[in-house]
């Protein structure tokens, strides 16, 4: 199989990830922070070390400000519902995933917030000045994806934050964590939501949210934390404030192994490899008169996510042919981002999305180019 659905979840993961899950499960899987016995202490140390490792990876100075969540969607909802109040205005882009769009839409429908969606260009580009122009006195938050899950376009978050230093910026790093360098201090990120099971190579059921000093969220979920148990009131300090219930400790052990793998390889090495593969795919497909590329079509301006369509062919049927005839796994249709497809001009039919990772090879990309060419020419 040639696996090109890494934007959905990366596969394979480094062996060390699964080994860490197993070791944690067999040796350290007490309930962290709930008891004083040796196994609970080992679990607590494990969780602390994961938090420190992931915080270090994003240059988060105080690891207590990083909380673990089920996934990026839970992190985004925690941030949006924890921060936004009646009368707030929110600015976002037209490239967002439904994990941002749906909670914002729900809050707008309930009359809690007003929303401005800044349109991106057909290549997925966002002009920082357009974001600044969308601000109002009531603007409480700007929410932006770091990189589009549909076409890979990288949004200029550093430049945008520089234009609006006073407005909190929530970055959806589901597609960029582990793929692009993320330093929350250098980029000016106030809230960072990320997925553990994509570029960070962790298992599913892991993700996280960073909240910058000075920002206080209310808790979306209240419950057991192992702290202040005598009080009915949920703790108001991090990380407990946003981490009710028992965490996915074996999964988080795997996430730490994923982050350590990234640190060993170096993000620059990973980015170089993925840009090379992206360039190879774009070049291979660009010359074909029936194949359309959507998005930046520039390895520098995008992650290793490429959206294509073939004239006269349904994206779902193309993906099916790739899977059945060539053993190439990819994703077709709307990718949980209908507004992004409207932006790219590919709504409602969607696209075929080919998304690569560090573990893909040039030979696999050449095979994919050949397969798409065959399908476009009607050989399949």
């Amino acid at each position: 199989m040639i696996y090109l659905d890494n934007a959905a979840t990366t596969f394979p993961k480094p062996d060390a990830v699964w080994e860490a899950v197993l070791t944690c499960g067999k040796e350290r899987c007490g309930n962290p922070g709930r008891s004083g016995h040796a196994l609970a202490a080992a679990a607590a140390r494990e969780l602390f070390s994961v938090r420190e490792a992931v915080a270090g990876f994003f240059n988060i100075a105080d690891s207590s400000r990083l909380v673990f969540t089920l996934n990026a969607t839970a992190a985004l909802n925690t941030a949006l519902y924890g921060l936004l109040r009646e009368g707030d205005h929110v600015v976002t882009s037209s490239l967002e995933h439904n994990s941002v769009m749906r909670p914002l839409h729900a809050l707008e429908r309930k009359g809690v917030i007003t929303l401005t969606m800044v349109p991106c260009g057909r290549g997925g580009e966002l002009d920082p000045d357009d974001v600044q122009k969308a601000l109002r006195p009531a603007t409480r938050l700007v929410v932006l994806t770091h990189a589009s899950n549909v076409c890979g376009a990288i949004l200029p978050i550093r430049e945008i934050k520089a234009l609006l230093p006073e407005i909190p910026l929530l970055v959806d790093a589901a597609q960029s964590a582990g793929v692009l360098p993320i330093d929350v201090q250098a980029l000016g990120i106030d809230l960072l939501a990320f997925s553990g099971h994509k570029g960070l190579f962790g298992p599913m059921g892991t993700g996280g949210l960073y909240t910058a000093p000075g920002l206080k969220l209310s808790s979306l979920v209240q419950g057991g934390t192992g702290s202040r148990s005598e009080q009915l009131e949920h703790p108001d300090f991090l990380p407990d404030l946003l981490e009710a219930g028992t965490p996915n400790l074996p999964g988080l052990s795997g996430l730490r192994a994923g982050v350590e793998f990234l640190a060993q390889q170096g993000i620059a090495t990973i980015r170089d490899h993925e840009m090379r593969l992206t360039g190879l795919l774009l070049e291979g497909l660009a010359g074909h008169d029936k194949i359309r590329l959507h998005g930046p079509a520039d390895p520098q301006a995008q992650t290793a996510v490429v959206s294509v369509t073939i004239d006269g062919r349904d994206p779902g049927a193309v993906a099916r042919s790739l899977d059945r005839e060539y053993g190439i796994a990819c994703r077709a249709s709307l990718h949980c981002a209908p507004v992004a497809h409207r932006t790219l001009g590919t709504f409602p039919q969607g696209t075929v999305r080919l998304s690569m990772s560090f573990f893909n090879t040039e030979a696999e990309i050449k095979e994919t180019v050949r397969a798409l060419g065959d399908i476009a020419e009607g050989k399949i």
Binding site: G33, R34, S35, H37, F48, E52, S64, S227, E230, F237
Partner: protein
Amino acid sequence: MTEETTYVLILPSIHYVLKVEKEAKARSIPIELIPTPRQISTDCGMVVEFRAIHREPLLRMLIEKEIPAEGLYHRKKGEFERSQRLR
């Protein structure tokens, strides 16, 4: 540790207990994590114990690292007396 000469530090949650352990190690301040003594109320399960001679550098570390401590107890012959001075 000899009971007459130790303090027990209570932190709001296990994260801060382990943060104290990490920072103390970095400063070569000897501490021990022990299961919470039954006379003291905290339920993250663990507290930090250290000798009286390390009290000043440890309390200074809490301030410098902005670690929110909840209470400090002096352990004397098996009895715990809450110390007024945490900061």
